[in-house]
Symmetry: C2
Subunit: 537 residues, 2 copies
């Protein structure tokens, strides 16, 4: 025998290759089976989360007063089961088994399913039940204290709870992502891939730009005469608008925008919001004020933008983590595109005006131009939700800076009113008349939602960049609005944003896919400058 051990004959070679192929086939089949088993569990969890949203929608729209206590228990029962299933060993094992092998053979969406399932399982399992419960309990207490503080118009009643919420949030952050900057952990929960550092850079840039813009144009020292002229223009639109008629107008409007009544509904409540009860049942809730019809109009368009996103997610991966909106900021961008970039455009106002006059004959003497100017007035105000597009980011930056400093421990909750008012004066030249008009105006902190506010400003930035890209891709996009046609925009958003779900690991990556660039602050700053100039004209 020669010393060449086990030489492969041709036949053996063929057999060996076949064996490898067979093994590969088996591995692939096993992987597919594990993947499908994981998806089954993830879909069940999604269904149960949808069920929670049905309970919540009903609570805000239909629930009789006496049903509140039982509803709380029903929500808790479902939440308990969701938590149990989300953190189950079974799901954890399926994820580990899939991650042990390479994910070759799964497509990009399927890999993203495993990736996101892993992130969620990990987060859920790191957080101990005790800590999760303690956070919920303190948030409940904080919410009570905030209400009491609002009632008595005294932030100091809420301050200790706020400080507690900061401390427990830092504890949560240290538990779920040890070694990571805690504020980054907070931000990342809403804005995937965003860091505290990057946010700091973005907001420094925008703040510097806006302070210069407003000061160059002398906003803070704007002439009394010009301000008065503007305010007369604004007050011109206040009146007494029939609430029933406003609701009808909103319904007619969303029909034009492209909202499908077979996949949702519109109801009216005290606060505007959107409930996604399933991928084919998304319910808008708008608010209506009798003295001002544009509030309901813009709120409805805003919520409709949110709804379009959720309805446009990839149906092939329904109920799986990849078929979710990418981030809170991206979601907000979709709402703002419809509220601001469509709703406040001259073309939209031109089309909308005859319809508005039909519903409200008292508007006969006003023109579409009047309405356009009214919607686009820049006027610093102490209240965030009343702010115009140009001054809005400063409201957010103020809150961001306070959150950041609370987390860094460089300020204490007791100092918030003082810091708030100083910044308000510095950035916007206005001083809240009391805590309710100042640092008590938003509910977010009482829920422990730190890192959420930035998403509002990021959403505005994304929305402008996306809209410009859509204008580049669709010939005369705004021209369609003049004829009440919005399909071209909706289709563009569906293709470039909605259908991707959360495939990409950050908003930057999705923006790059949709517009060719990651977040580009130049685009946003140029837009704000134009808006501001126009408002002064």
């Amino acid at each position: 025998m020669d010393n060449c051990e086990h030489p492969l004959t041709r036949r053996q070679e063929i057999e060996s290759a076949a064996a490898v192929t067979e093994l590969q086939r088996q591995v692939k089949a096993l992987k597919r089976k594990k993947y499908e088993a994981l998806c089954d569990r993830l879909r069940e969890i999604s269904r149960l989360k949808e069920v929670s949203r049905v309970l919540q929608w009903d609570q805000s729209i239909c629930l009789p007063r006496g049903g509140g206590e039982a509803r709380g228990k029903q929500l808790a029962a479902v939440a308990g089961i969701v938590h149990e299933k989300e953190t189950s060993q079974e799901v954890g094992d399926l994820i580990s088994e899939l991650m042990e092998v390479s994910l070759e053979g799964l497509n990009d969406f399927e890999r993203a399913v495993v990736r996101d399932a892993h992130i969620e399982w990990d987060r859920g399992n790191r957080l101990t039940k005790e800590l999760a419960m303690a956070r919920i309990e303190r948030a409940n207490q904080a919410a009570q204290k905030w209400l009491e503080a609002k009632e008595k118009n005294d932030f100091m009643i809420f301050a200790p709870s706020l400080q507690e919420m900061v401390e427990i949030s830092k504890e949560v952050a240290a538990t779920v992502a040890p070694g990571t900057d805690p504020y980054t952990v907070m931000v990342d929960e809403y804005e995937r891939g965003m860091t505290a550092q990057r946010l700091g850079e973005i907001f420094r840039d925008i703040k510097e730009f806006l302070l210069a813009l407003l000061s160059n144009n002398g906003e803070k020292g704007i002439s009394q005469q010009r301000r008065q002229r503007r305010e007369i223009g604004v007050s011109n639109f206040s009146g007494n608008y029939d609430v029933e008629q406003q609701e009808q107008l909103c319904r007619k409007l969303i029909d034009f925008l492209g909202f499908w009544p077979e996949n949702g509904r519109l109801d009216v409540a005290h606060a505007a919001t959107t409930y996604t009860l399933s991928s084919s049942d998304v319910r808008l809730v708008t608010k209506i004020a009798s003295n001002n019809f544009s509030e309901a109009l813009l709120a409805t368009m805003h919520e409709c933008g949110h709804a379009f996103y959720d309805l446009g997610l990839n149906k092939d991966y329904q109920g799986l983590p990849v078929s979710k909106p990418l981030s809170t900021g991206m979601h907000e961008s979709q709402a703002l595109i419809w509220e601001y970039l469509v709703g406040k455009s001259h073309e939209f106002c031109t089309w909308f005006w005859p319809m508005a006059k039909e519903f409200f004959p008292e508007l006969q003497t006003k023109t579409a131009d009047d309405f356009y100017r009214y919607l686009n007035t820049v006027h610093p105000s102490p209240i965030r939700v009343n702010a115009d597009e140009v001054t809005y980011p400063l409201h957010i930056i103020l809150r961001y800076e306070i959150e950041r400093d609370l987390f860094a421990g460089t300020i204490h909750a007791d100092e918030v009113p003082k810091v708030w008012n100083e910044k308000m004066q510095d950035y916007l030249g206005v001083l809240p008349k009391d805590d309710n008009e100042g640092c008590l105006q938003d509910v977010h902190w009482s829920y422990g939602c730190f890192g959420y506010f930035p998403a509002y400003a990021l959403g505005a930035m994304y929305s402008v960049q996306l809209f410009e890209a859509a204008q580049r891709d669709v010939l005369d996009l705004k021209g369609y609005f003049r004829d009440g046609q919005f399909k071209a925009l909706l289709d563009w958003l569906g293709k470039n944003i909605h259908s991707w779900g959360s495939l990409f690991a950050s908003a930057d990556l999705l923006l790059e896919e949709a517009t060719g660039n990651p977040l580009n602050l130049q685009v946003y700053k140029a837009y704000l400058a134009r808006k501001y100039e126009e408002s002064l004209a």
Copy 2:
């Protein structure tokens, strides 16, 4: 030493007694702990069942068309978890441990909790998952076939499915209660404590009585003239009644009856029903026909009666099996008390009539007496849901006899149309013009709901006996109705029926508690005879 071994000294006696007391205390504490642990699990199951009802109510009232498929999956997800929890080993172990010791120390309601939890756990665990799934699957197919049969007006399309549903129901019965008569098992599911034999005796008695009553009075051969006179009376009330006004009238009415808007709501859909979303959130759904305002009126009163029962259950045992309605028949009795015994009473009509005329000025020329006579006309019809109080039991008896014979195997589903029409002719003297007007009129069998129909007739019997007892206990009960006051009746029902929940093991026992006697057919027969005489007058 004397031979009296281990004589107890006084001190030892005391110590021994103390030890026994201490042991008793420990056993009691342990038992209490087990009982509370069981209750926690049962309450969670109840919450989840409530959640299912929220989903169902939303489905019938609010769900946009496109949301149907996802809703089905949400309902299935919740049902799966309910089944899992209901049949869990954990619950089973708690029940066994409690049943091993004596239930001394628990009060009657608490013992009933253990008793009913045991029954339900046992039933759930005997039924294999395969059989349960097969039954659901066949019922789905049967429901489809029934719809197709209705559409084509041809029972034979549905017949094979009906036969299959009978067979699988017998299999289910043999599995959950081996050795028991299968039809008894079916009936007992709706009517606790009732047997096929007892039902047979009751229905034989009522049938004999009614056939004699109708034949003595010559109903079948009633003079053409008299029938025409009656029909003119009936047609007098047909018209075109504004649907919106009808809804308002129904709302006003339930307010008078004592329905609390903080604990429920009234909506309108194609079928009337009641959804109990929690012990403090019970939602009525009524149906409104534009050509006939009394249909909505009576349907609303009927559903309101159901709602009163569920709202009146003992709140101390909320979410536990003892705080459930006793049976389907008892539930129906509560609805019929308000629909028939109140709604069709002369006193109610007298009070109601001015209000009816306010809502519908076209009724000016009619009197309360006209309306009373219209509501109380006896007139055999082939359609169950249109039947009057006197002929209604015969519709039920006909269905009962067919079910019974299908279960006994003495008739086959193919023979149903023939048997149906023969019995219809024999009992009521009318012949359905086709299958849709005959054996295809009810949906129940397509769901596999055998043993359900009898509850309708039992409910009527219970309602009359209960109402007579209430009249005996409350001085001039019906006199209150003349002033639009219904609190005395509602209070009586709350105390004597609602608050007992399902403490008693049968309707007979509850009737005995409330009226002094188990079901007494003489009371019911006398009532029917009076009603019939009056209608002929």
